[in-house]
Amino acid sequence: MATARQIGEVIIDLRNISLRFGGVKALTDISFDVREHEIRAIIGPNGAGKSSMLNVINGVYRPQEGEIVLRGRHHRDMNTHAAARAGIARTFQNIALFRGMTVLDNIMTGRNLKMKSSFLLQALYWGPAQREELAHRRKVEEIIDFLEIEHIRKTPVGRLPYGLQKRVELGRALAAEPSILLLDEPMAGMNVEEKQDMCRFILDVNDQLGTTIVLIEHDMGVVMDISDRVVVLDYGRTIADGTPDEVRGNQDVIDAYLGVAH
């Protein structure tokens, strides 16, 4: 498929990030950047620090050293709320849906930052509050339509199979209309068909909405297929960074990752 999206300027620049938990070094002096509209993959063996990296980007973890440059603004570290406001949404490695709520409500939560009605108006469910609620409902329905999950709209997410939960979680992230989407192993534990669907959704999001995507994924085939650039971590350090082809040919990567783990 021809692509019309233009990869733009650097949108996130991570500089010399180091992160420790007590005495354990999770990330050591990691630097890489993410350009606007690209699909950027982070790969590496288990425990390489991939999830920690995402957690640093959206402020769940605060690195001890380094800085994060987001759209040209320098941050010592991020905080989750500011990250969400800055248009960063994400999914989690172990699905972090709100299990007691329906698919619809879960995705609706993704729009919370766009909802302005006062608490009292909500309690009255009246006028602007109701209009706002229903306008967002429509937006959410479009996401439901996009992800082809119409039939489970009113099902509590706890009852859904794994693959669908992953899809709902993507929906919740998309509901925020993010400019940057962090996906932590979006295809883990899926069968081939589910993976294909998920790939299609990711590509569609990237392509149709221009969303920048940072992606952690284990399935090398998928990573090489869909990403524009790949950064490889091992033991909390960067060992390679480049296009899929460059990375594939990198001897360190072959040694540390491809040759050993898989």
Partner: protein, 363 residues
């Protein structure tokens, strides 16, 4: 079986997001309201219902349901366990008392609302630890509220208008020149307030604020990442919950007991309301009513049973045994529900309803 839903399609989001999207539910709710507001009063005018029904069953049921609703918002929806419900009720009761006592011409409803707001303020203060702690650390923290509030109401005479015994007598409920002094009128007064607040609560839980509570409850980290502010969300839950409990406390004093003392709002009362939440259904507005009805009716049922045993069967029971048995029954019921149906009577109702909707199919 009773549900005949074919043809009840929704052409707009307004229709689709109604509280009762199914016509049969709507009709059922309307019937309940008609019975509650008109049927029961008419029945009492014919003399078929004595004051006992109002003073011992219906009014306390409604008041407890309101308090349960309050606790359910905090514990069921926002996931913050609280053992200080009675304290918030006490704040509501004593604040209302003082507003009426000290402000000339204070309308009773305004006093109740202000009482609720005072409770909400106290709730926010004692909800602050939720910023750092969770689970039963938080539950333990709310116990502090319980002890502190009761202590301060007892120790500072101003609150009880320097009553030597600490007991206050609630003023009459007067509105527009009408005095609600009959059992029936008090029942209707309580019913109107409870119905209104229940509607507001339902609206909250189906809006963004309700979703924020449930999000924090279900997965606080994810809630934070998508932009909910945990502390603000939790404190709002504390405030709303305490407001409901505060109003319930005021009604408890004004429409139910008439005279109250701080010790009346004991830890035991807090526990009872927690039981109502558990048995009724954690995270369910409807369940709050079920739970309150259950806990109000069980002792009455037990009394009837022991009375029957003593009078008819001639078994004489030691004095005080019925309160002990009541404790045991409550305890056993809680454990039973937690094991068998942790979502309480509301879930049973839900299951039954689903069965009826799919009848004759089993699933």
């Amino acid at each position: 079986m009773l549900y005949r839903e074919a043809g009840q399609f929704k052409a707009t989001y307004v229709e689709d997001s109604q509280i009762f999207p199914i016509r049969q539910d709507k009709v059922g709710m309307a019937l309940i309201l008609v019975v509650a507001f008109a049927g029961i009063p008419l029945l009492s005018l014919t003399g078929l219902m004595t004051d006992y029904f109002f003073t011992a069953i219906l009014t306390p049921f409604l008041i407890f349901a309101l308090a349960t609703l309050g606790l359910n918002i905090l514990t069921g929806y926002a996931g913050q366990l609280s053992l200080g419900t009675a304290a918030f009720m006490a704040v509501g009761a004593f604040a209302s008392y003082n507003f009426i006592l000290r402000v000339d011409g204070m309308p009773i409803l305004a006093a109740f609302a202000l009482g609720g707001l005072c409770a909400a303020a106290v709730g926010i203060v004692f909800g602050l630890p939720s910023m750092r702690v969770r689970g039963f650390y938080l539950a333990a923290a709310t116990l502090a509220t319980q002890f502190f509030v009761v202590w301060i109401l007892t120790k500072i005479g101003w609150f009880t208008n320097y009553s030597s015994s600490g007991v206050i007598t609630a003023q009459k409920i007067e509105m527009f020149g009408y005095t609600f002094d009959s059992a029936l009128s008090k029942y209707l007064f309580v019913l109107a307030i409870v119905a209104l607040l229940a509607l507001l609560a339902k609206n909250m839980v189906r809006s963004n604020v309700g979703r924020s509570w449930m999000a924090i409850r279900d997965m606080d980290m994810a809630a934070e990442v998508i932009g909910f502010r945990p502390l603000r969300t939790k404190l709002l839950a504390f405030a709303v919950s305490s407001f409901y409990c505060g109003v319930a406390g005021a009604l408890f004093a004004y429409a139910y007991l008439g005279t109250v003392e701080p010790e009346g709002f004991s830890l035991d009362l807090s526990f009872r309301i927690l039981f109502m939440v558990i048995i009724g259904g954690v995270g369910s507005i409807l369940g709050s009513f079920f739970g309150a009805a259950f806990i109000v009716l069980v002792p009455i049922g037990l009394n009837i049973l022991t009375g029957f045993l003593e009078n008819s069967a001639g078994i004489s029971l030691p004095s005080g045994i019925s309160s002990s048995i009541e404790l045991m029954v409550f305890g056993a019921m809680i454990i039973f529900f937690l094991i068998v149906e942790p979502h309480g009577l509301a879930r049973l109702w839900q299951i039954g309803k689903e069965k009826l909707r799919l009848w004759p199919f089993p699933h």
